[in-house]
Symmetry: C2
Subunit: 204 residues, 2 copies
């Protein structure tokens, strides 16, 4: 019996690779592989080249570190956006979540993670110096800290507060409408947009 190898090494390898994707178990992976088997070859090639092209050619915005097809992302390049407010987030996904609320018109800064000594991630591993550079130039009025409410998130917020407050900029955090321990990504749009509207002055 071929319990583990699906009767085909080619199939086994495809399933193995699909199951590396987040949230995909062996059964879903098998479903995906067999689905592609029934698709025209052109579609399968189109599928592969879409994410290979994405992985190969995506850039990071030189200002805010958001992913972008060009050197400066569409948000930083958009003159209708308020250049005096920066919303600091952990990841690209957080930017997409906030943009999706249609309630925020400032700019962003993607840290690329949060300070986490347990995982060996210190301030120098993040895009923090670049944030300080932006703030130190004097044209920023407000920095919104939109990090998660985990211990690491709070630590990072506090670190940024200490680092940025000397520039006389207003530092706020998003309202705690976002449930403790929840990721921004899974928060519904209304809660998330309220938490930006009701942002509060950061208190030590």
């Amino acid at each position: 019996m071929f319990k583990s190898n699906y009767s085909s090494i080619l199939l086994e390898k495809a399933v193995e690779q699909f199951s590396t994707l987040p949230g995909i178990g062996k059964k879903s992976a098998l479903r995906m592989a067999l689905f592609l088997l029934n698709q025209p070859k052109e579609n399968v090639e189109k599928f592969a080249s879409a994410f290979l092209d994405f992985r190969e050619n995506i850039k990071h915005c030189k200002v805010c570190n958001m992913i972008s097809d060009t050197e400066f992302c569409p948000i930083c390049s958009d003159n209708r956006r308020d250049k005096t407010i920066i919303c600091v987030v952990e990841s690209v996904r957080d930017v997409l979540s906030i943009e999706n609320t249609d309630k925020y018109n400032g700019e962003y800064h993607v840290l690329g993670g949060i300070i986490s000594p347990m995982d060996g991630i210190g301030p120098s591993d993040l895009y923090i110096n670049e944030l300080e550079d932006r703030v130190s130039k004097g044209s920023i009025n407000e920095v919104i800290l939109a990090l998660s409410t985990s211990m690491e998130g709070e630590t990072t917020s506090y670190y940024l507060f200490k680092k940025l407050s000397k520039y006389g900029v207003k530092i706020t955090t998003i309202a705690r409408g976002v449930a403790f321990g929840d990721d921004l990504e899974y928060t519904d749009e209304i809660t998330l947009s309220k938490s930006i509207e009701n942002r509060q002055i950061f208190k030590q």
Copy 2:
């Protein structure tokens, strides 16, 4: 605001392609695309080539129509299997489900679908003549019909019964332990293996 385009056309295309996969919505697709973004390029290329290679090079067994890396699949090539019993299934996935029970030691025949006038699928679109050829050679004692209990499945079973009974072969169906309307794929192994053990003579 870039509600629909994710700030990047490269990202948008990757998300679009991932969401063509079965069971994957826009949110999961985004998660997958951003996951690949954080992987080393080699891993992403390995992922792509695994299923491209599968799609490009997979064969169908010349006897039973199961997918295979070689002209004859490992089951048909295995001399320890009972060559006198054929279990007729709709799809490759059904073979994998039954093999997974470790309770069946005969051979298979993959029809590649079921008769479905609504979808324009007639007997000639399926791998039915090849099944008749196998049975007509006289060395088969039993044909197990393991098709779904939908109207199309029952129709196909009846069609096969009419076609094969003239060869004096015993025709059975798997026991109705599999709930009506349920796919074999989602049936637990115990129910599925019982339904093979308790298979019954096909009645008109």
